[in-house]
């Protein structure tokens, strides 16, 4: 049996927007993966989320539609406690041994990975960002205002291979969930970059109005 490569796109998805979908499509077209798994996080210790995990999961399913290469997974939501990407990636890899997983992260997040930690272990001093860099391949995507990672330095430190998805590869991260939420607060009209199905879900469930 051939091993499939899946790119894990984690995050809050509060709400999901078109850049998430464009990024996933770009990764597939560049053959960086065979599938993209959208893995929404549970409620988090480090940021306040507006929509519930169930609502964010439902919005993702609506946005993804019936694309067979896009998988929406509740595996991290069902872990209940948010313990950071390294613990999640380990758990996902152990649960699906027939897959080869890569982690999708924004260029803004990449810079902070060496300082990531498991917040629920050893009073938050169980640092594991360097283990994430060592054990899992990354697909780093462009974020406005953040530069491309130094691939040479990354490899010198003995970390796993890294792939860059930026403007040259056909992706330019311009939309943010924060911007969409702000747009809702200001006008209530459909913000650009929000899938129509997700917009309707937000209206039906009266989200992002406070």
């Amino acid at each position: 049996m051939s091993i499939k490569t899946a790119a894990i796109l984690g995050g809050a998805f509060d709400p999901v927007h078109n850049d998430h979908l464009a990024l996933a499509s770009t990764c597939l077209s560049l053959k960086l993966c065979d599938e993209v798994w959208f893995v929404p996080s549970p409620d988090r210790w480090d940021k306040t989320l507006i929509a519930s995990p169930e609502e964010r999961f439902e919005m993702l399913k609506l946005a993804v539609g019936d694309n067979p290469s896009f998988i929406v997974s509740d595996i991290e939501i069902n872990m209940n406690d948010y313990r950071g990407s390294y613990v999640s990636m380990q758990y996902i890899q152990e649960t699906y041994p027939d897959y080869h997983f890569r982690l999708l992260v924004g260029a803004d997040s990449y810079e902070g990975i060496p300082h990531w930690r498991d917040p629920l272990h050893f009073y938050g001093t169980e640092y594991n960002g360097h283990l994430l860099l060592r054990d899992f391949e990354l697909i780093v995507f462009a974020r406005r205002g953040y530069k491309e990672p130094d691939l040479k330095k990354h490899m010198e430190l003995g970390y796993a291979p890294l792939f860059w998805v930026g403007r040259e590869q056909g992706f330019e991260g311009m939309i943010s969930s924060t911007g969409i939420r702000k747009s809702f607060l200001c006008s209530g009209e459909k913000p650009s970059g929000l899938p129509a199905e997700v917009y309707q879900y937000i209206l039906d469930h009266n989200l992002y109005r406070e």
Partner: protein
């Protein structure tokens, strides 16, 4: 740190222990004249084995300021927090700026007026742009308390440390092992 200094420290420890043992018969805890057993101080840790930067050898481990409660003839509990920033300049690659942070807790049980048995725990951290790393150290040892005056004392300790497994992003290898330590410190009674 060279081996001669290591031997000198060992001799000092032995001398201090013998001094305290001979004094023990004629001295009591009351000679400190202190109303409360609270102490401030610091400990310099040197050792042979796995060092704090992941190297193997002989060298300085860390310097740890501490506070605690110390009752002569009974024992002590002390807590320390050490911090040290340093730069490593390897033969290959870029310079490495590392922030070292260590929290430690030590419990000692007196074997008389001077000597004591001690157990220690340290949560050590090396923070850098290459990756933050934290690990545990557990130690068992023997020490001696050497009164300098009414309100101050030197401490000499020999300790065997067990260093838990952790990955060092600079060495690019998993580190674990043991270390024989010699600690020199001082305490001042405050009240």
């Amino acid at each position: 740190m060279n081996k001669n200094l290591w031997i000198l420290l060992l001799c000092l420890f032995g001398w201090a222990s013998s001094q305290e043992a001979s004094d023990a018969a004629t001295t009591s805890a009351n000679t400190t004249g202190n109303k409360m057993p609270f102490v401030l101080g610091g400990v310099l840790e040197t050792g042979s084995g796995v060092l704090a930067n992941g190297d193997h050898g002989i060298g300085l481990i860390r310097v740890t300021p501490m506070i605690g409660a110390w009752i002569n003839g009974l024992g002590y509990l002390r807590l320390g927090y050490g911090f040290n920033n340093y730069v490593q300049d390897p033969d290959e690659g870029e310079k490495r700026e590392i922030e070292q942070r260590d929290f430690s807790a030590q419990l000692g049980i007196s074997l008389g007026f001077g000597p004591y048995l001690q157990g220690s725990y340290t949560r050590a951290k090396n923070l850098s742009d290459a990756g933050d790393v934290a690990w545990n150290e557990y130690g068992l040892g023997l020490g001696s308390f050497f009164q300098l005056g009414i309100k101050s004392a030197l401490v000499f300790e020999i300790e065997y440390r067990f260093i838990s497994e952790h990955y060092d992003p600079f060495e690019k290898e998993t580190i674990s092992g043991t270390r024989l330590q010699m600690n020199i410190g001082f305490v001042v009674y405050v009240y």
